[in-house]
Symmetry: C2
């Protein structure tokens, strides 16, 4: 990003005037940085530039553009050029590119790709079969496979042949039998350490950690992270290898999933694209929906307050403590739900732990409630006109509210997880609003108990 | 985890009764799963078991234990056994282990390590020099280095020699001159494709993407993700190579940093350890601190409401709308701050974009405010006794409050980032409480404008 900003204007000029320079630039500048610069050009400038390059030079830049940039540029280029570029792309990037295109545009290009590189076109169709966030969609079909009957030298030779055409996935050899069933994996490290004439089957690692094509990408990420894997094979139910997933794609997945979780926690529908690229209308929809839900949820505070009007009339000034009290419940609820949601996401917490969590949160809520209740008690008494019973009401209400916040905040994500909804959907504002209403009920009932005489004197019962 | 639960009891029994079985188990079960089981044993059982194994068998299990488990088990074993195990650990895991120990325990073991494996002890001291979350602390000193004057065959030979002793970092060769300055990198892929007698310098990649030892681990993670690197070298200011960082450590970093961010956003000081391992007192401290801060912040709502008492007395029922109105401001503020904090974290947003963001959020706040204002207007009029002017007051207040929420929520993280504080620290509850107080002020002033006659009739000015 920095490089693009610093060198941007000059490089843009060079790229526009003399596309032959790009080959030289590619030697000196990482294609990621070049993609940044190309992404900043107008789509028609970028399309013109990429069309002038050889497909081999254009592919490493094009595959690193954002999906929305690819979508803008591709329709402006001759479908034939794009097909040639697509043929040079890594299979997983190629599939991502096609799945980001409108069907009408994608079909035209895919037809051309069929002519240029039938195998690649077949690959795209294969990978597109799987759901967007599944292992099958994330995998690449470019990996080294050999028969388990070859020897070590032949396996190394297969690596070398693969490496001629591919940057990625050259460090593992997958041994597959005649039914494409995966029987074992050998790392290039193991191959180098073995004697060249040894049978590959002698050194194959047969205890294979793999994923299924329908597994969610987040589960794939956790599994690869857990076992420190750089590559993981995707096997169908008969152990036939469909492809492999590489770690660099997993990092992108982790980052995207985290963004989604954070946005949900903040009460926003996940944006899918960066802040500045999200359209105004899309923002209104994704934020508005939650704001309206929370607004309607919060109506109940007004309804409750109105319902308890006689009590608030009887206890002068009590209504002014409502925001303070209920927001404290919301804050403790946010804390608990955040802790539980994150714990569930990283697998530290399971729904079956709910009882332990409930006890823990109740005790924690009691302790934190006593802490805040003490402060609140002192605060109320700073007003000389306030009766000690009102201070006690505030203190006890805080204990009740914080306990409620902690337990409700902790249990709701567990319930959602149990019924199969992403727990992050119970955004912290949602829990806060829920606890707000309960808080009012607690406040009024504590007041009725502690200040029974005052309230009775005002004729309320 | 599942494996540990399913096989747990049996395996535990085997491990306790016959440690010789562990070698066989290691062939069949991933050390990560064995570490899970060992982590579930009582510390003294685990210590007894590990001490009975050869250091070579124990190390892959021990280095995969959680830091707190290591800390519990290590003091229960003879320092000599631990030193032998440490000598077999990967240098980065070894350094992590020592930095997690109390100094008194660590020093005794380090002294023994000095005898067993002086180079490893030196390594620990070297890596411990760097701050806990820096690149220097994350790197490993086990990588393949050769002189740039060797040929391709010799470089491959160096890889093979390194692979004899190490699992990791066998796929890149680092060419360093006589001053340990890094002059270039060759991947094993490039080496395999080149002719064996070619000089290594012919195929060295000299355009090196690296990090400095003091770089923050999150920046290292972003850089490796951006350039799809599996390994990145750590260079000092004179380009001397100090070590390399591998991608599996980066995934752990990303997950840990994300947990920290989510917890901060939820108004909890980061826990550092999993939910169930966090002590009760530590919870009280890490949650209590924020709850008290937010509680004190929220006092101002009570102060403001009390101050404006005459207005609320004049406009019957107005006080009951306060929680609804101010929480809506808080919700819109949470949304904006979440979007900006995440945008900053992944580098999509820079503080210098503040003006664009301010304009965008103000317009968005206006639109969302009008949306909610319309709903609120209708809602108030559902009560036949409410005057249309009060409905208008509620509607206009919502417009003002949502605009304020959006702009304050978006600007505060940018300000924090600018002054060098982690923007996630402006937790969403903090912003919500801040907006609450402003919301009351807006409500009262809108009421004074729209309902001037009612308020004047009640003798307020």
């Amino acid at each position: 990003m920095r490089l693009a900003r610093l060198l941007g204007p000059d490089l843009k000029q060079i790229l526009k005037e003399d596309p032959d320079e790009v080959r030289e630039l590619l030697e000196e500048i990482h294609p990621e940085d070049l993609a940044d610069i190309v992404g900043e050009l107008d789509p028609d400038e970028a399309a013109k530039l990429l069309a002038q390059l050889s497909a081999k030079d254009a592919a490493p830049i094009f595959e690193r553009l954002e999906e929305d940039e690819q979508g803008e540029i591709a329709p402006l280029m001759p479908p034939e050029s794009i097909a040639h570029i697509a043929s040079e792309m890594a299979p997983d990037d190629r599939a991502d590119f096609f799945s980001g295109l409108p069907v009408s545009v994608g079909d035209v290009i895919l037809e051309k790709l069929e002519v240029v590189d039938p195998e690649a076109a077949e690959d795209v169709r294969e990978l597109e079969k799987w759901p967007e966030t599944s292992a099958g969609h994330l995998m690449t079909t470019a990996y080294v496979h050999v028969s388990p009957d070859v020897n070590v030298r032949e396996a190394i030779e297969a690596v070398r042949a693969h490496a001629e055409d591919h940057q990625e996935n050259v460090y593992n050899v997958y041994a597959i039998d005649s039914n494409e069933k995966l029987v074992g994996i050998a790392s290039l490290r193991d191959l180098l350490l073995a004697s060249p004439l040894l049978g590959l089957s002698e050194i194959l690692q047969t205890n294979i950690i793999s994923v299924k094509p329908n597994d969610d990408q987040e589960d794939v990420a956790r599994r690869m992270a857990r076992y420190d894997l750089n590559v993981i094979p995707v096997l169908d139910e008969r152990d036939v290898i469909l492809g492999v997933i590489t770690i660099d794609d997993i990092i992108d997945v982790l980052t995207a999933e985290q963004t989604e979780d954070v946005q949900k926690l903040g009460g926003v529908e996940p944006l899918d694209v960066p802040y500045f690229k999200t359209s105004f209308l899309s923002f209104i929809r994704k934020r508005g929906i939650w704001l309206v839900v929370l607004f309607v949820e919060e109506f109940f505070t007004q309804t409750a307050l109105r319902y308890y009007d006689p009590v608030f009339e009887a206890v002068k000034g009590a209504a002014y403590y409502v925001p303070l009290l209920i927001s404290t419940g919301g804050n403790s609820g946010s804390q608990s739900s955040t802790l539980i949601i994150r714990g569930l996401a990283v697998g530290e917490i399971k729904p079956r732990d709910w009882w332990r969590i409930l006890v823990r949160e109740a005790v924690m809520g009691l302790s934190l409630g006593v802490l805040l209740g003490t402060i609140g008690f002192g605060r109320v008494l700073m007003y000389p006109e306030q009766h000690i019973n009102f201070a006690l009401t505030v203190a006890l209400t805080l204990v009740g509210i914080v306990m409620t916040g902690c337990t409700v905040g902790a249990m709701l994500p567990l319930v959602l997880k149990r019924v199969g909804v992403d727990p992050a959907t119970s955004s912290t504002p949602f829990i806060a609003s829920l606890v707000d209403v309960i808080g009012i009920v607690i406040f009024v009932h504590v007041a009725k108990l502690v200040m029974a005489n005052v309230i009775a004197a005002a004729g309320v019962h």
